[in-house]
């Protein structure tokens, strides 16, 4: 069998892993409390601060970044279009609608319940998006992202409308701007479910790659298309809902990261997954570190930083000539 992907050497992979590890360690040492490299392992107070605040925050950023990037990758595969991602095409907004409904109907619901309801509404919202997107003519690739933007806008408007009626508009703001400043030991652990979704993507990677060939081809090759569609939808919805509930909406990661990776590495999902997950984690970590440092000791929400960084990266994607077109 011919190797599909362009070979990326081991040294490149090792270097990328080193960069990620470097960011991870940097993140452990950036914050308001004093933790220096020298006494990190001897001073009990520094150790405590790392365990209680820095490590949870760093892990949350890594899990969020990797999860969102993978959710973007899966969504792009299912929609067979490179320019959709959960936060612009209605998944994030549907999840927000779910949280809003829980807040209205069961104000004292736990975070887990909120996540569950948000996942269900995100699932419904994304299913509707994909079922309509698949009816759009494949010869017009920009129709899908355009439809996605409109669809996301409509669901977002529904959120605003319900919130406005219930006088919860300012409450909606709280989780539409994503940030990690509230993350502590005991307040982010649900995000590990994202890691499970990542593992699921890895397991089904080859089948997702087949799906990107289209329904007829993949069914012809013996794939249970409908089942794979369901699995993909669950992955996208659960990751997005978790992120919205725990840290808020974080834009661009799901769009920019998979596109950059596919520019550099091609479209085999299995070989792309580690790169997409790693780059997503690195991107969110960098933005969170910038947000912590720019106005030290105050914070800038990671969503705001990503809006700027992500927009720049997206422009780069648009204007840079395709590597193999």
């Amino acid at each position: 069998m011919m190797p599909v992907e362009r070979p990326v050497g081991r040294p490149v992979g090792a270097a990328a892993l080193l960069v990620l590890a470097g960011l991870f360690i940097t993140s452990l040492f950036v914050g308001v409390g004093e933790v220096s490299l020298r006494d990190a392992f001897t001073d009990p107070d520094a150790l405590y601060l790392i365990a209680a605040s820095r490590l949870p925050r760093t892990l949350a950023a890594v899990l969020t970044g990797a999860g969102l990037a993978i959710a973007g990758l899966v969504m792009q595969t299912l929609a067979r279009n490179r320019f959709v991602e959960p936060t612009t095409a209605g998944t994030g907004q549907s999840a927000a609608l779910g949280i809003l409904l829980v807040t209205l109907l069961m104000p004292s619901a736990s975070i887990a319940t909120k996540t569950l309801v948000a996942s269900v509404t995100a699932l419904a919202g994304t299913s509707l998006f994909l079922s309509i997107a698949h009816r759009l003519p494949p010869t017009q690739p920009f129709l899908v992202p355009l439809f996605g933007l409109v669809y996301g806008g409509v669901v977002g408007a529904a959120v605003t409308f319900v919130a406005w009626h219930a006088d919860l508009l300012q409450f909606v703001e709280i989780w539409t701007s994503g940030e990690f400043s509230g993350v502590l030991r005991g307040r982010y652990e649900l995000l590990w479910v994202s890691a499970a979704m990542l593992a699921a993507t890895w397991i089904f990677a080859d089948r997702f790659t087949l799906m990107s060939l289209g329904r007829d081809v993949s069914v012809g090759l013996g794939l249970d298309y409908a089942r794979m569609m369901q699995i993909g939808l669950v992955i996208i919805s659960v990751v997005t809902a978790l992120t919205v509930v725990i840290v808020g909406l974080i834009p661009f990661v799901g769009l920019v990261v998979p596109n950059m990776v596919s520019r550099l590495m091609g479209d085999n999902m299995r070989s792309a997954i580690p790169w997409v997950a790693g780059s997503g984690a690195a991107l969110v970590l960098v933005c969170d570190i910038i947000g912590r440092l720019l106005r030290f000791p105050y914070e800038i929400p990671v969503g705001t930083v990503l809006g700027v960084v992500g927009a720049a990266a997206f422009l780069w994607l648009l204007f840079r000539r395709p590597a193999h077109a």
């Binding site: 914050g31 308001v32 409390g33 004093e34 601060l49 209680a52 605040s53 807040t103 104000p107 004292s108 006088d167 919860l168 300012q170 409450f171 709280i174 989780w175 940030e179 400043s181 509230g182 502590l184 030991r185 005991g186 307040r187 912590r292 106005r295 000791p297 105050y298 914070e299 800038i300 929400p301």
Partner: protein, 301 residues
């Protein structure tokens, strides 16, 4: 020429009539404004104004659809609804035909529009010198509505409440003002909307200098731990805007905040959020806030 003459004649007829209704100079957020005294029908979009007018026994003719504070329900009862806290409804306002419209804070950007319906004043209070502004407003409303006596009495009581709070907080240590917003927090310093707690009441700030942003600064729980204040003064924004139950305590109750001196000794003062955040500057609302401060600082050793 004829037109100008006509206008001059008309003005000559109208002006003496206007002079009969006595004019008063009232200081507003946009400088001193001359107004006709004793307006009969007043539309009030500023909750601090509604609160102070209620104290003076002045009934508003028009109010927003929601007043947020249960204490203000009585003051708003029977008045026409003429928009929301943020957005005056110009049609409803025209139908009401008020003599005066009082805007403030959230509604103040709409001054241009409402001024076409009736004389409008912007009574916003930014919070840096809240106590003084509250007194100036009280005195102004007293003169405007011919309730000078009531205003003077209210001012005496209010000054006493301020003095009691200042006395209670004196020498009790450094405090950090936090606003919780769902799971997130911001800190407020001397130049912020809650800056008067430091500047007027003389409560020593735990972090100095703090960035002077009026809306506070987003901070992490590590920031609170490092500041290690003797007192925490907490405003729950979600509670103030009516988004469910108070979750300020749940948000702050984590291991980093628990390690501060303030939390260990139970020195956490939860301010009546809506009084401060929605009606900040209203005399009755501020009296409740000051009472909470006095209680908080006196209760614990």
């Amino acid at each position: 020429m004829f037109m100008i003459r006509l206008i001059a004649i008309l003005a000559a007829c109208v002006l003496p009539a206007a002079a009969f209704a006595e004019a008063v100079d009232i200081s507003t957020a946009r400088g001193v404004v001359a107004l006709q005294a004793k307006p009969r029908r007043v539309a009030v979009f500023d909750m601090a104004a509604l609160d102070t007018l209620d104290l003076l026994g002045v009934k508003a003719a028009g109010v927003p659809d929601r007043v947020y504070l249960p204490e203000l329900k009585k003051a708003a009862a029977g008045a026409e609804v003429v928009g929301t806290l943020f957005e005056p409804d110009l049609e409803a306002l025209s139908a009401l035909g008020p003599d005066l419209i009082i805007l403030g804070g959230r509604s103040s950007p709409k001054l241009q529009q409402t001024a076409r319906v009736a004389p409008t004043i912007d009574m916003s209070i930014d919070g840096q010198d809240l106590i003084k502004d509250a007194e100036v407003r009280l005195e102004g409303y007293g003169r405007l509505f011919g309730r000078e006596q009531a205003a003077r009495e209210a001012q005496q009581t209010f000054i006493a409440a301020v003095a009691a709070a200042r006395e209670a907080a004196k020498g009790k240590g450094r405090a950090l003002i936090l606003m919780t917003n769902g799971p997130k927090i911001s800190a407020f310093g001397v130049g912020s909307r809650f800056g008067w707690l430091h500047s007027t009441l003389g409560i020593e700030p735990a972090v100095n200098p703090m960035s002077p942003g009026i809306h506070g600064e987003a901070v992490s729980f590590e920031f609170v731990r490092k500041a290690d204040p003797d007192w925490l003064i907490v405003v729950d924004r979600a509670l103030a805007i009516g988004a469910g139950d108070s979750q300020a305590r749940a948000t702050l109750d984590n291991e980093l905040v628990r390690s501060t001196k303030a939390w260990k000794q139970g020195r956490v003062i939860y301010l009546p959020a809506a009084d401060l955040y929605i009606a900040g500057g209203g005399i009755q609302a501020m009296t409740r806030v000051l009472a909470a401060i006095t209680r908080g600082f006196s209760a614990t050793p």
